[in-house]
Symmetry: C2
Subunit: 263 residues, 2 copies
């Protein structure tokens, strides 16, 4: 068990809320919560039983780690503000999957990324211990320290370079955003034909459960894979009134045939 | 609890194996297994402790129900063969999601569809009780009987017309085949950049778990939804060497923006 650490949360959104709770639960101290919004800062401050403000000048300068948890595009500006109020030798990390650590370099030598790879939604609490944390530190000598901290929070911690993390974020868009959108399309098809929406949930659950044992190329099935032209043509005709979905059906089928078909 | 039934399985593939086991487990009798392949027929016959053959003339003619479990395109031919050997008043149902029940009408007045909506893979046993069974019978007077039988096997039984079932099968292609293919793409991106493949499993699991509580339109997140043009452009540049995936990224993002974005 690593030593308890003193941490400042710069940001008070969904990630700050769940990461903050996990830090507290595992014996670390949240010294302070800052947010552009005083309401959000105070709300999270109450939840985490700590001081909170929207004034950057109140951020204490003796923390072991400053975690920046604001939207991607706000990171450089918030880092610049923060740098005016804390020790220039402080360790400052952002938590974004798609932002290079280099945006922090102009302000802090000891910078890095502390990226919890999960989808966080308001009102939904994930089992944080199962969330992989991907770490990068600009200074090699900071890595072990941050790794120890992350290990107190979750089961799996990974060293991931800036370049790898960008690729990881791209892959995550396919796994999360695009996968969710396919479920939207299927749900709309169900609705339009008076079919109960939950009828497909067992299929979805098994589709994903399979991937614990099989790789996606082994698990692939369906009309495209078996070049079942008559079923595919019937489906395309059924999608006539949804030209975008029809186009997606074609593009996805073509991809399956190119990447995964034997013939 | 409905009366035990005497059932003949016409086909010995993945669905026959798991549906047959569930019938047996719930007190019904498998009278006979037929398959074009004598090896497959005998293998499943042994598993289900019953007679098996590749000769249609050996199929007994006193069963309560004949279930046709062969590939879609073989259904009409197998039904024709079967009709030469059993009572013309027998109840005969196929188990295909994408084939109309009418392909059985030339041969049997009492026909229908008994469609277990799930993805079945060799060597992987699903919890059959959670599989929804979708039923259609040509004769209204057969419905209650078949419904009772299905209720002995699974938790949820649905009355689904031929036209609805075709739509359901189309929706299932999005939920199963296309969803699986997106996981393939993300896995390849991970591999190409020496990232551990299992790193994204917790994200995938949560993406799906969310849908037990939220509808897909409520659960949608990501760069496309928030019109984050700079992230999308960076992603498209990263996909330069995979023009098909690049095209899919664009088409899926466009769909999310059209169907789900507020602006």
């Amino acid at each position: 068990m690593a030593k308890p650490r003193d941490i400042v949360l710069v940001g008070a959104g969904k990630v700050a809320e769940q990461l903050g709770a996990q830090l507290l639960k595992n014996g670390h101290q949240i010294l302070f919560v800052w947010s552009r919004s005083i309401e959000r800062a105070q709300l999270l401050g109450q939840q985490l039983k700590t001081e909170a403000s929207n004034k950057m000048e109140l951020v204490p300068d003796e923390a072991d780690l400053y975690l920046i948890l604001v939207p991607d595009q706000a990171i450089p500006e918030v880092a610049a503000q923060l740098s005016g109020h804390i020790n220039s030798n402080a360790l400052v990390m952002h938590t974004s999957g798609s932002t290079p650590s280099s945006v922090l370099s102009p302000f802090f030598d000891r910078n890095g990324v502390f990226y919890p790879l999960q989808t966080f939604s308001p009102g939904r609490t994930v089992n944080f211990a199962t969330v992989p944390i991907c770490i990068h530190t600009a200074k090699a000598e900071d890595f072990a320290w941050v790794n120890d901290l992350a290990q107190t929070l979750v089961d799996k911690v990974y060293a991931v370079t800036d370049q790898q993390r960008t690729q990881l974020h791209l892959a995550a868009v396919f796994v999360n955003n695009f996968t969710n959108y396919l479920q939207y399309i299927s749900q709309e098809i169900m609705r339009e034909h008076d079919l109960p929406e939950r009828l497909l949930l067992p299929l979805l659950t098994e589709t994903i459960a399979k991937l614990e044992e099989l790789s996606p190329d082994q698990a692939q099935t369906g009309p495209a894979l078996r070049h079942d032209q008559s079923t595919m043509e019937r489906h395309l005709k059924m999608l006539e009134h949804h030209p975008e979905w029809r186009h997606l059906y074609q593009a996805l089928s073509k991809g399956i045939q190119k990447d995964l078909s034997e013939s």
